[in-house]
Structure formats: structure tokens, C-alpha cells
Point group: C2
Amino acid sequence: MISTRGRYALRVMIDLAEHAGDMYIPLKDIAERQGISKKYLEIIVKDMVAGGLITGASGKGGGYRLSRRPEDYPIGEIIELTEGSLASVACLAGGSVSCPRSADCRTLPLWAGYDKLTHDYFFSKTLQDLL
Amino acid sequence: MISTRGRYALRVMIDLAEHAGDMYIPLKDIAERQGISKKYLEIIVKDMVAGGLITGASGKGGGYRLSRRPEDYPIGEIIELTEGSLASVACLAGGSVSCPRSADCRTLPLWAGYDKLTHDYFFSKTLQDLL
DNA sequence: CATTTGCCTACTATGTCAATAGGTTTTTAG
DNA sequence: CTAAAAACCTATTGACATAGTAGGCAAATG
């Protein structure tokens, strides 16, 4: 289940894209428009800056803006960054298969197939597609 | 993320299918074969009985067995029953869209599309496919 | 230089997950 | 007919994640 972190991050990205201009957009404005606590958004937005999704500027006239064009953001990248991973089961998270039973696990192919489906879905769409 | 509840339930189903005969299979045996706490399995198995997936029999010589043929169990039914729902976001769980912003939500189609993909994937496979 | 804004650490309430513990009831095998 | 084996039931627990809240510091500009 996608939590508020990923969903809010996506809404921030959309808000930034829809209000893009030559100025930075204060988080206060985004929080008000989206009806989300500004304080909570700060936590999420921090990861988005660290992950290179957006750029922040302090001081008066500061705020945030996208660091790429909307069509250059795969949705999957935004979600993975803020949710941690979009793996369907714990034994497939982190890149490597860790479970000792994986060699003859009846269910592993099921989860692996679902993971691929999920990955393909979210990486085939970009932020542009949501505008 | 699919939790142990859904994953263990699936493994119980597979174990029951692979050891099917004219006798009931004690949970103790399943727990030992699968390397899962029997006490924890009791909780999960309880829901599976209530949901009509399997049949339990008390007393000596008792245990559990499948109540249908393996090809008549869609994987999605097993997971939904034990996980509660396989909806990707809270606003799509429970059947109805509850969010007040849903009318002009930029992200809802994304989640709805993913939900459909997920549903189709897990309901297109049956227990038989995992054996 | 005061205001606006991002940035940072810490704290908290609530709930879920993954069990564990200890019993009661049911049924059959011997 | 009784003892063992099994399901069935309620309650509790420790760890962790979620979804925030609170308060202040740093930076930049108008």
C-alpha cells in the first residue's frame, strides 16, 4: 500500500509543475493548495531535494522548483525515492534475494512477476502524463 | 507490500495441495515443513477457514484440507482474504472512493490503473499454477 | 535589518506486524 | 472409556512504521 509519503510527494511534484515559472514556489503555498500540513511536507520534501527531484532555495523569495522537465520524471522514481522501495515482498527488496528457501520457493516467481509488472507500470509513466 | 499473513497463507495452501489425500493434515506438520511458528499459523488459518478456503477438523486424526480443487482458487482470493485488501492506496480500499478531492484528483487514475493491473494479475493465476 | 523562507533535531500518539502464551473444546484411536 | 491429539479461543507483547507536531536555527533578500 502506497503511504502518504509517496502520494504527497507526487502531489507536490504536480503542484510544482502546474505552477512552474521563473520563481521559486514556497512550501506554504503548496501546503495550502493541497490541504496538507506544511510541517509534514517539510520532511518529505527534504528527501526529494536530497534525491535530486527538486531544488530548494532559502530566504525571502525562496521555495522549491522542479530540476527537470516533467516528461523527464518517471513516476516510479518519485515513488521509490519517497517510499523506499516498491518491492512487493521483503525477500525481493534491496536488490538481492536473501531468503534461504528461494532456491525451491513455489511463490517466488509469483512475486517476481508482480514486481516486474509494478516496475514497468510506474516507470512507463512520467510526471507529464499526470498534468 | 505483501506481509507474512498473505505469504504464509499461500504456503499453507500449497502445502495442503501437495500433501492432499483422504486424510486431514495437522497444522503441526505444515508448520514443521514450512519452518513457521504453529501458533502464528493458527491465527492465519482461522481466517482461511472462516473465508471458506479450507476445512478444519478437530480431534485426533483432525487437521485441515482444501475445500476445492487447486485450479478453483484464484491467488487473488487467498491474498485478499488474508491481507484484507490489495488496494494500492487507502482511498480506493473498501470498494468506494471516499476522498473529497477525488473529482479532480490528478493521481487517482494512476492508482486506479495500478489496482486494476494488480487485480488482473492475481486473479488470472490459480493455486494450481504454483504447484 | 527584519521578514520570509528553507532546514534541522527531537518528540509523540496511534496502529500494525509478527509473534508468544496459556488455556478450552472436540474427536478419535487404542 | 479414557487419554492423546488436534483444532479453537482470548489475551498480551515487543518492535517498528506511520503520520504527524513542536520549536528553533540558518540563509537570503526586499
